[in-house]
Structures are given as C-alpha cells and as structure tokens.
Amino acid sequence: MNQFPDELLLKLMSFLGYRDLLTLSITNKRFYNLVQDEQLWKRLYKNQFNHTFLVHKYSDATSSKEMFKLHWTKDLTLFKVKYGNYQVKMTTINYGGNITNTNGTFTLELHQDRSLLANLLVEQGSEYNESTDATWTGTFDVENRTMNIKERFGHHPGYFIYTAQINDKVIEGTYFWDIKPTAGGRLIIELV
C-alpha cells in the first residue's frame, strides 16, 4: 500500500462517488490529501448536476469539492415549515472520522427576525472526544430559504450522513466536517 503511487490511487478513486470519497478522506492523512483533488470533484459535479461551473462563483466555494457540497445541500428542498419551534430528530445512517453516534435531537427555533437557535443534543460522545455536546447556532436566510447552522466550538474531522425529521418530513443530508477549525462545521438544511 505504501508503495502504491498516488496517481493510481486517484485513478481508482475516480470510480467512487462522493460518499465513498469522504469516507476515504477520513481514513488517514494521505487519503485526505488525495481526496482534495480538484479533478475528482469536477467530474462528480458534472455528473451529478449535469453542468460544469466556475468555482468562485459563490463566495465561499473555493474548490470543486466545496461547490459540490454547496450544490448538494441546496438541492434538498423537502421541508415546508413556517416560523416556530421545531424538534428535529437526527439519525445518523453513515459517518466517518472521529464521529461515532450523532443521533440526537435538536430544537430549532425559527424567529420572525430570521435568527435561529438550534441546539443539538448528542446522545453519545464521538470517537475521540468524550464531550461532544455541541452547541450549534445559525441563521435562517428567508430569501434563500436556507438554514445555516454553525457549530460554535469543536472541530471533528469527518462527516455524517443523516436523516433529519421535522414534523412528518424526513430528509437525508450530509454534514461535512472537513473544513478549517476556525470556520466550524456547517449543516445546511433548506427550508421551503
């Protein structure tokens, strides 16, 4: 494995989808670095959304991977909620990195002034951290009908793929935790 050259790993990674790439990216440092490869994500993006794009079109997208992430989360338009308080039940269906069980609930309060408060209550600690009761705060952008939740502290390399339930609606989404610590993690659920 150590003698196996990067170019060939990239070649075999080109046959994988984004979930498997994310899984690989959190196995170790070498894979992490390889998964940042621009070409892998360009191809995925093109085949997922059927067009190519300009990377810097959106301010916070600095790579194809970032762009893929944004676009992917923006495609989830399954909720219909109004302002109010909601209990969101999150169930992890796949995950990686130093996160184990992120099942839990978070209370979601959408206020008229567009502010949002979301507290995630994690049922069990993550793999490398005993205490992971993360406090997430965020904003609800009515215009874009997008809810951005930032984890206020803590950075856990990894991701989880979850289902979230608000009222009777269930969506599946991906939480990527692979960005810089200062930026925190971000969960985007689009609300319609």
């Binding site: 196996f4 075999l12 080109s14 994988l16 796949n94 610590p181």
Partner: protein
Amino acid sequence: MATNVEETYLYSSPTTFKVSSKDGEIFDIDDSFINQSKTIKNMLNVLDIADNHMPIPLQNIKGTMLNAAIVFCKYHKNDLLSIPDDEDEDDFERDAYEPRRSDDISEWDKEFIKQFTVEEGTLFDIIMAANYLDIKALLAVGCKTIANMVRGKNSDQVRQMFNISYDPPGEGLNTPRNSVTSKESGDNQLLTTQEKESRCKTPSPELMYD
C-alpha cells in the same frame, strides 16, 4: 483504422519476443501482448530486435504479475479492435468529465482478478504492473475492483481493508479537540492492537443504520 494495422505490422517479424521479469523469469510474448501494452509496443518500435534476441528486461515486474498480464492479454486479444488506438489518456479535457463506472467488469475479468488480493498486496502489484506496461484494460479492471471493495464501507472498515491506521489529517485542517493530533503517523504504527482497536472501534450496526 488502417494506420493502426500498418503500425502493427512494422514489427511483425518475428511474431514473438522474449521478455524477462524482475526475478529473472523469461516469457514469450506475442501480438496479443504487444498490441495491448503500449510500453512494449513503443519499445519495439524504437529497438531493433533480431530473431534470437536477448530477453527484454522488465525490471519493475515480478514474474507472476508478468505471467498474469500475458494471460489477460491473450484472452482480450480481440477486444483491441474496438478500442481506438489513438485514445490518449492524457487528453484531460476530453476525459475529465466522463462518468466512471465500475459495475461493468466482465465475468471472465472478475474471475481473473480474484487471484489477486489486497491483503497480500498482489492486487496493488498487478495494477502497478498494468500501469507500467500501459495495459489500459487491465489497469481499469484492477482499479474498479478495489473501488468496488471500498464502496459502502465506513472508514474503519476501509482502514482495516488497507491495513492503515488512523492518522490525523494534520494541523490547520482538521484538528480534533483533545485527541491524538500530536501523534505522527510513525507513532501510530507503534500502537498495540488494543490501542488501535480503541481508536478505531467499530460501531454497533444499529447506530449506523437506523
């Protein structure tokens, strides 16, 4: 394509050549191999080789891998006709956005590739051999096979499969809060099995799939 056929006949006498592996085994190769291995093809176009030539040394490839590659090419000798020879792997623009699928490995290829495993590292060896010899079909079968093994696994299972240990992605990127960041990969190698298990504990299934 007429030009390709002509090219093939440039070195068509003699029709077999000898090659020697890293470990000194000598093999006869024929057109089926020469036509599919771009590396050999290019070599033969450059070298002027007589009938009773010394074996061409392939210093990077073990005998077992070379033999397997020859078997593979013999079976696939007729496939070549449908693949345009001028397809350039380096043509990035054209290739860059092509979807890649790995569920199209033929039954024969599946059986063939079964002799190589990740555990023994032979699957990596055959891919590297295919890469060195520039046999596209074999390279693709090998890569697709590993890709298929990775698919659907979680990170612990992948680590187990590749026999690699957790190695924090590093400063400035993903620094876990109070954990093993200061450990370099070298340290990880020294962990006892028990320690490794505690770091990469396999979650219980009901947590993964609700």
